[in-house]
């Protein structure tokens, strides 16, 4: 069963997707469904032994191209609607034990191209309002398959974070005449303490308002809405900045650091979204090598984040590992 249920308290849709309970959970490497199918092994979705990057529709999708009607009867107060949309899996490499931090810059550039391709194709679908590429890395953030991969959700509505960022960007533009993210970037460059790395065209910072200890936002300095608008130099520098950040993350505590990576682009709903500025957000849950930040009473019940660290200090900590690269 899969459907959207409206929460009138928070003004948001909740996706119910009970089929996902049956999805593959931490299989041994010999049974990895994201590895190329090997002779004599159980057939997976990827038939080729050699490939660069593969994208396929999730076998256990939360959103579907042809969704069934809701199994539950909604009401005027709490409507239900079909869970239309697309959920895709992006397999970064055929190598089960590879990491993006050790990937060539060329492969990361290719991954950027794949994200751009999928955003254009999925965003052109009439039922899709927002295309969201993301990655969950590590069991600490709920990964069920260790093979290097990410996901793309194409939602039929603006998810709450996108909607809130878009509204705040519009409000800032109306009040000041400038882009919220351009102004944030300029403020961070002027201050310098929270900057993790800069290139001519990109900058990575632990934001002034970071919710997580090692949260980083990676933002192009040019005002852009989607990846497909990047030029060659911007793609090359993004690949470099992306890999440098991941290497610093893995060096931070001497282990592959879990994280959630979120790519925020403009909605594809046809609305007045010109004020929105493309950026990546990284959320590692660790506050030390052995301690995780949990979402607890204040965060879950009140939506009020408490960060136990200072962004100025965690940015400096991350910078110290960039210097070793």
């Amino acid at each position: 069963m899969s459907e959207l249920r409206w929460n009138p308290q928070l003004g948001e849709w909740v996706i119910t997707a009970t089929d996902r309970q049956a999805r593959t959970f931490l299989p041994p490497p010999d049974f990895c469904p994201l590895c190329p199918t090997r002779p004599g092994a159980a057939p997976g979705d990827i038939e080729r032994a050699v490939f660069e990057i593969v994208v396929f529709e999730n076998r256990f999708p939360a959103l579907r191209r042809d969704p069934p009607e809701p199994a539950v009867q909604g009401s005027a107060l709490t409507p239900a609607r079909p869970a239309a949309g697309v959920c895709e899996v992006v397999v970064y490499t055929p190598e089960h034990d590879a990491t993006l931090a050790s990937a060539s810059l060329g492969r990361i550039e290719h991954l950027i191209a794949v994200w751009a391709h999928r955003t254009l194709e999925l965003g052109a679908r009439p039922e899709v309002a927002y295309v969201y590429p993301f990655e969950n890395r590590g069991e600490a953030v709920g990964v069920t398959l260790h093979h290097p991969h990410g996901q793309i959700y194409a939602y039929p509505y603006l998810p709450p974070v996108a909607e809130l960022e878009l509204a705040n960007g519009r409000e800032h533009q109306a009040r000041t005449g400038s882009c919220l993210w351009c102004d944030l970037g300029q403020q961070e460059r002027d201050d310098g303490r929270r900057v993790v790395l800069t290139t001519e065209r990109w900058q990575a910072v632990v934001p002034f308002f970071a919710r997580w200890p090692y949260e980083v936002h990676l933002t192009p300095q040019r005002h852009l809405g989607w990846l497909h608008e990047l030029d060659r130099a911007e793609v090359a520098e993004l690949a470099y900045a992306f890999r440098s950040l991941l290497r610093a993350y893995d060096a931070l505590f001497g282990m592959p650091l879990p994280y959630v990576m979120a790519l925020h682009q403009r909605p594809t709903d046809g609305g007045p979204n010109e004020t929105y500025h493309l950026h990546f957000e990284f959320y590692p849950p660790n506050r030390s090598a052995t301690k995780l930040k949990y979402l607890a009473g204040s965060e879950v019940g009140a939506g009020a984040f408490i960060n136990d660290t200072l962004p100025e200090e965690t940015a400096e900590h991350l910078r110290s590992f960039l210097a070793d690269q």
Partner: protein, 60 residues
Amino acid sequence: MRRSRTPEDDPFRDLVAERVELEDGRHLLYFSWPPLPGSEHEEGTTTPEVTTLPTGELDV
């Protein structure tokens, strides 16, 4: 936003996507730059449809 750069400055111009349909109807895309040697598609349920980056139809 339509893509309007020159081909020389297009970082995505060499991307090739081969689309196949899996037995249960799901779509799968193999991406390559250019197609990898020795990666000829094996007998599948459909003939792969080869495309490049969509031309960009996000008129928003």
